[in-house]
């Protein structure tokens, strides 16, 4: 009888704990990981481009603007040497 009670108690306890392993299913609880801002850089990488200060948002923005003008605006590149 004591054994039966123990088994019943263990079964009831495991049944009660089953929900603890469930992932949240509400629509609002998306669980999308937090992404870091791009200006925080990639750390130590051979591919990282110099010319801007990692962590400085303004510096990063200026770097991208300068790169866009230099790389994509040939009117400016042609005019530059004059």
């Amino acid at each position: 009888m004591q054994r039966f009670t123990f088994i019943c108690a263990a079964a009831a306890a495991s049944l009660a704990l089953v929900a603890c392993g469930d992932r949240p299913q509400e629509l609002k609880a998306t669980g999308v990981k937090q992404d870091r801002a791009a200006y925080t850089g990639v750390g130590k990488s051979q591919y990282a481009n110099g010319g801007w200060t990692v962590g400085d948002k303004n510096s990063w923005e200026q770097q991208l603007k300068a790169r866009a003008q230099y790389g994509q605006n040939e009117y400016q590149r042609v005019a530059a040497p004059k």
Binding site: L27, K28, T30, G31, V32, K33, Q34, D35, R36, A37, A38, Y39, T40, G41, V42, G43, S45, Y47, A48, N49, G50, G51, W52, W60, E61, Q63, L64, K65, R67, A68, Q69, G71, Q72, N73, E74, Y75
Partner: protein
């Protein structure tokens, strides 16, 4: 900074597919998945136009609106990204996207389509920047490296422009003024909801 945007200059695109190749190579995109592709209208007819199409990172992205698990998010720079760990590969975004950007690799068990894959504006995803995990799931994070998307930087005729919306709009405007034609920007109004070519 305004927002990151793409502009494809149909007067310049020569359908070389350099942007497609650059993207596939940069991010090691698997077979069957094309984050970017070149579409030619009136192919073979004199005056044909080609445009390079990928995710336009819309201002009011339809994919974000329809995603049942809300795996999408928008970065501070206006780049629309998604979390592959949350995506269930339902394909709703594919139906909603006006550019056909979402791609589904057929590498799942029994040919089931896998997690959605799309252009990230070379901004990686919600993993540690520059990490192997980020590269394997989303590709290189060129923005965090201080670079612009590989497709635009590799474009031989500079038909494809990418970067800060104000900068690329200025570059395109100076071109149009200089050549006196070709003010139409394909997809601009659909993606960003603003006037272009003097028309609303």
């Amino acid at each position: 900074m305004a927002r990151m945007k793409f502009i494809c200059d149909a007067e310049r695109c020569i359908e070389c597919n350099g942007c497609v190749t650059a993207c596939k190579n940069e991010h090691e995109v698997p077979w069957g998945v094309n984050r970017r592709r070149v579409i030619t209208l009136n192919d073979g007819v004199p005056g044909e136009k080609s445009i390079s199409v990928a995710c336009m990172h819309c201002s009011d992205a339809p994919c974000m609106a329809v995603c049942p698990v809300q795996c999408f998010y928008r970065t501070e720079e206006g780049v629309v990204l998604h979390d592959k760990d949350v995506c269930i590969g339902c394909g709703y975004c594919s139906y909603a996207c006006p550019f056909g950007a979402p791609q589904f690799p057929s590498q799942g068990t029994f040919g089931v389509r896998g997690k959605m894959d799309k252009c990230t504006f070379c901004a990686g995803g919600p993993e540690e920047h520059g990490s192997q995990a980020e590269f394997e799931k989303y590709g290189r994070n060129r923005l965090a490296e201080g670079k612009l998307p590989a497709c635009a930087e590799m474009c031989s005729t500079k038909a494809l422009l990418a970067g800060d919306g104000d900068v690329v709009a200025d570059i395109f405007r100076s071109r149009v003024i200089s050549r006196g034609k070709g003010a139409e920007v394909w997809g601009w109004g659909t993606a960003y909801g603003t006037a272009q070519g003097g028309k609303s």
